[in-house]
């Protein structure tokens, strides 16, 4: 497992604002995802672990080896860290065949073992038929497999991946996820993967770490983070929520209920511990948790009136864009309803979260 406490500051200078990274993370077996927007320090974290960057302060432990320790001045070179690294462009050596790429990586191993290990990985990643080709002669998916095989050949203690699926089309992406799942089940190597794609987090990871401006904003299983973002920042970063300003009008712990004022409407929500009547809060609810109904007559309980701005076609349904919020519904549901500009939006009482 990896345990890292990293601090690194880049002072502001005329052509860039300063940046500081300050975080503590650990990752064990399985896939851990570092999620965050560009410029949040994801790659810097990865590079600190791999040894390309020297942090100002902190300590990085991989299993029982100290890779970096500011207090004692230990800073192992990347060669001695046993971190496998898969680069965004795969960085397969263009002047070597796939077999030579793997053999290059196998050289630190005992001589007798190398050949067998190279063949073993070529076979495991279905590369034996194209082992004699060079990187520019193979497909994107094959490059992916080869770069992961090359990173694994030295039996690293952790596998680091820097936005490996970025810019891939959907089939390649699916293929890549399949390979990573295979790696997770067949190798015992913990995997730390950097991405800014929420779907990728759900697809792959047991554990997700949300980074924002060099700090950890939240960590936990992706499902739990999506269910209850820790704060407004996280909710914004995930980009999957309606964030609606509201005011708490009533709190009733006995019935586990509350009342929230949104604009001119009042809706019912669950009891929110730790809040007071009159608090200004932000209601956080996902577009697919809301219901939209054509408006006939007065709003019922927990419904508000809204005027439709736009209908957005999406691969998995329809998104109705209203002023300040969006509702997702299936195409069938949308077509069954009378399409008009005036709608009612129903808030599900128990799914409401406030931040």
């Amino acid at each position: 497992m990896i345990k890292a406490r990293i601090k690194k500051t880049f002072p502001a200078c005329p052509d860039s604002a300063g940046f500081s990274l300050d975080l503590e993370l650990s990752a064990t077996r399985g896939i851990t995802v570092l999620f965050g927007p560009s410029g949040s320090g994801k790659t810097l974290t990865l590079d600190s672990i791999a040894g390309f960057v020297r942090p100002d302060e902190g300590r990085i432990m991989l299993d029982d080896a100290i890779l970096f320790d500011a207090a004692t001045g230990v800073h192992l070179p990347p060669q001695a860290r046993r971190c496998g690294y898969v680069f965004q462009n795969y960085a397969l050596f263009p002047h070597m065949t796939l077999r030579e790429n793997l053999a290059f990586a196998a050289e630190p191993r005992p001589r007798l073992e190398r050949h067998r290990r190279v063949n073993e990985l070529l076979e495991k990643f279905r590369l034996q038929d194209i082992a004699g080709r060079r990187p520019h002669e193979i497909s994107g998916g094959q490059k992916q497999r080869c770069s992961i095989a090359r990173a694994l050949i030295g039996s690293p203690k952790i596998l680091l991946l820097d936005e490996p699926a970025q810019g891939l089309d959907a089939p390649l992406r699916a293929e890549f996820y399949e390979i990573l799942r295979q790696v997770r089940s067949e190798f015992r190597t913990p995997i730390l993967l950097v991405t800014h794609d929420l779907e990728e987090c759900f697809e792959l990871s047991e554990e997700m770490i949300v980074l924002h401006e060099g700090r950890i904003a939240q960590s936990g299983p992706p499902r739990r983070i999506l269910d209850q973002p820790a704060n407004l920042e996280v909710a914004r970063l995930l980009g999957a929520f309606n964030l609606i300003p509201a005011e708490i009008r009533m709190l009733d712990p006995g019935r586990n209920r509350s009342r929230l004022q949104i604009g001119e409407f009042e809706i019912e929500g669950p009891y929110f511990p730790g809040h007071l009547k009159g608090d200004r809060v932000t209601v956080c609810v996902r577009p697919e948790q809301l219901r939209a109904l054509p408006r006939n007559g007065r709003p019922g309980p927990n419904q508000i009136r809204a005027e439709l701005k736009r209908v957005v076609e999406q691969p998995r349904g329809i998104r109705l864009q209203f002023e300040g919020l969006a509702v997702d519904l299936s195409r069938a549901d949308y077509e069954a309803q009378h399409a008009d500009e005036q709608w009612l939006i129903e808030f599900p009482c128990d799914a409401l979260r406030i931040l």
Binding site: P78, F87, F93, P94, E107, I153, G154
Partner: protein
Amino acid sequence: MPIDWFPLWLSLRVALAATALGIAVGLAIAYLLANRDFRGKEVLDAAVTLPLVLPPTVLGYYLLVVIGRESPIGQIWEKMFGSPLVFTWKAAVAAAFLHSFPLLVKSSRAALENIDRSYERAARTLGASEWKLFWRVTFPLARRPIYAAAALAFAQALGDFGATLMVAGNIPGRTQTMALAIYDAVESGNGFAARVLVLVISAIALVILTFANRLAPAIVKPR
């Protein structure tokens, strides 16, 4: 009147030796400039560039100071080999080297810096030592522009006049290179020999430059 071809062979031999020396020294300096951060890095780069802009007589003077009979290097050389270094073809090699290696350093530095860093990073995470990394990854990837630079340096070493004259002299049959022979031919009114030598050296330079241009453009980028 028969033409004496000795200066041509001498020039080729001197230029070849100077280029070989230039690749060894130039590549090492280019590696430092491209990969390491140290104080005075840009001063070193400027110092390496100096021979490109200084008059050949200044280079010749510096060389006399460094390898002349009174200098420490000159004295060590004389003790080891029993004869002075100056006014031999080896001194001409030193002059041609000084004249041509700045170009080699400049181009090699650019070639090394042009390689995508992720290749080197990848090699490091795969456990390759810096030495192995350089010879197995960096150099093969930067090989073509470096060869092109070496070809250019060879052409330039072929053409040195002033510095060679000052440290190696103009001794026919011993240190008289092409450039000096052409000067002598013109001075002594031997127009035919001058024309032939001029055409020959121009043709050689043309071939080398064409060859260098063909090599140069392939700087490897990740695909």
